[in-house]
Amino acid sequence: MAKKIKEPQDGVLTTSMDIKSKEIKELQLIIKNKVDSLEDKQKLSIELLALQIKMEDYLDLNEENTEIITIGDFLRLYLERLKIKQNKLAQYIGLKPSNFSKLLSGSRKVNFELSFILGRIFNLDPKIWMLIQVKNEYLSLKKEKGKYFRNYKLEDLING
C-alpha cells in the first residue's frame, strides 16, 4: 500500500504515461466502463458543463482571435447536444416558433428576462447570454464602422 503523505516533497507530481504500454488498453477499458455506467442525468450534466465552458472560453477570447459565434449558434448547440426540439423549447419559454427562429438567426436579441430563463434552464449564470450578445455587437460594430469612429477626437471638439 502506498505510504500516506500530506504534501509532495518534490515538485514533480506525475509520471509521464507510456502510451504504448499494455496497461493503457486496460485503462481505456476501465474508463469506457465508467462512461457506460453513467446515468442519463450525469451525461446531461457533463454536456451542460461542456457547453458552459465553451461559452466562457468564447467570452475570454481576445478580440483579434474571435470569430463570431452568435447566441443562435450557442442555442442550436444546446438543442442538438441535449436532443431538444426547437419548438419544444420555444413553447416552454413562451415564445412563438417564429420569434424563436428569429432568435436563432440573430434578428431578435436576447433580453434580460430571457437570459434569466435560459440561465435557469441550462444551469448557467444568466449574465453570460447578455455578455456574449454585447461582445458580438461590439465586434460587429468595430468591424463595420471602426474607421468611421476614428474621426471623433477630443481635440476637434475643443478646438472646433
Binding site: T14, I19, I46
Partner: protein
Amino acid sequence: MYIFDKQTNRLIEAEIVLGTSKEMPVKKNGWNFTWRTIIKRKETETYILRLKSNITSIQGVLHLKKLEGMLIMDLVEIAPHNIGQKNKRYDYVAGCLIAFACRESFKLESSYKGFVTFESKTCLINWYKENYFAQIATGQKIFIEPIDGEKLINTFLKRNKK
C-alpha cells in the same frame, strides 16, 4: 482564479495560459524538467500557471496530451518554492492545475468527455485520492471522473476572493 500566498495570508490572482518556449522555467532555477524541450513535443499542450500581477512569475506547469480521445495529464510540476508544507510560498497551485486539466477534459469530443487520466508517483496516490477525488484504474494509473472534476473546477478555478 486565485492561489494562496502563505507569506501574506492573502489570495493572489493567477492565470493559466498556454506557455511559449521562451518563458518556460529551466533546470538551473531548481525545476526538474527541461520544459523548453517538453513544450516542443507534438500533439501536446503545455500550460503555465503565473501570477496576473507578474507574468514572469511561474508557479507551476501542466503538460497535457491526448490518446484516442482520452485526455492525459502527462506532466505536472510545481515551482521549487511551492514545495513542502513549511516553506512553500503559494498554496493551491497543484489544485488549480489539476482542476484546469479537468476543465479541458470537458472540451473533448469523445466518449471520454469529462475524464482526466494520469499516472501518479507511487508515493502520491493517496494524496491524489484524498485531495482530488482521484480513483485508481490500474497500477499507478489514475483518473478523475466528471462529477469530481466539476467539484475541483468550482473549488479551484471559481474561488471567490473574500
